[in-house]
Symmetry: C2
Subunit: 109 residues, 2 copies
DNA sequence: CAGTTTGGTAAGTATTGGCTTACAGTAAGT
DNA sequence: ACTTACTGTAAGCCAATACTTACCAAACTG
């Protein structure tokens, strides 16, 4: 259900960069934004989107907002990808059975 | 490198739908487009994008273009996702070592 | 308390990209 | 040969969205 959200959210390059910068551990916004080609508010907006998608979590520490990776947010996307490999076998089985019975079963149209 | 492309390509809902419709096996364009909320040319355009991304392959059969899933196209994206779980362990190790040495090592700023 | 750091939000802009209609081309059927 | 089925491409339109600047609020610092 939400793998669609994760896909959409991670499709953006700079948002993905924000996400990747959290690999090394939790960081405050200004640290994430440092050295990025976009403004700090832009990073803030991306973090909001990432958070809403469950890909990131936030805690306050004084005036700082510390953002951290939420790997569970990637789980559904991962499962979705895996499902393609699963039904590769399934499709093969069905196809095999179909071919065995007759040569008429048109998949077309 | 191309996981970025896959991410971007699969982010679109209708394009993802096109992709999913190929799960059941190879199909001609008109079969894929049948019952979709968008026009047939739209589907054609999506198929082109999917093909360029290596997520789909095409063969001609008379006047028909038969499109089929290319699961290998998902491999890099899968690996990228996996890498997050890998370095979860790595980060934990580093964090553990850091904490052991001192309590000063600020990750901030 | 004044000034600085940190960061979220608003408003407005501009680019990206997905959609449609129209057209062209190729193969199959009659 | 004429028609029909199938599909890709072009041109143009429109909506989504990523970015900017400006602003405001809250918490440290001196």
């Amino acid at each position: 259900m939400t793998y669609e959200v994760a896909l959409n959210v991670l499709a953006d390059p700079t948002r993905r960069e924000v996400f990747e910068r959290l690999r090394g551990g939790p960081r405050p916004v200004h640290a994430i934004a440092a050295g990025m080609p976009v403004s700090r508010p832009a990073v803030s907006q991306h973090l909001k989107v990432l958070k809403d998608a469950g890909l990131v979590e936030e805690r306050s520490e004084g005036v700082r907002r510390i953002y951290a990776l939420r790997r569970e947010g990637l789980a559904e996307l991962r499962d979705w990808l895996d499902s393609f490999w699963d039904d590769a076998l399934l499709a093969f089985k069905i196809e095999a059975e179909r071919t065995h019975r007759q040569t008429k079963g048109r998949i077309d149209e």
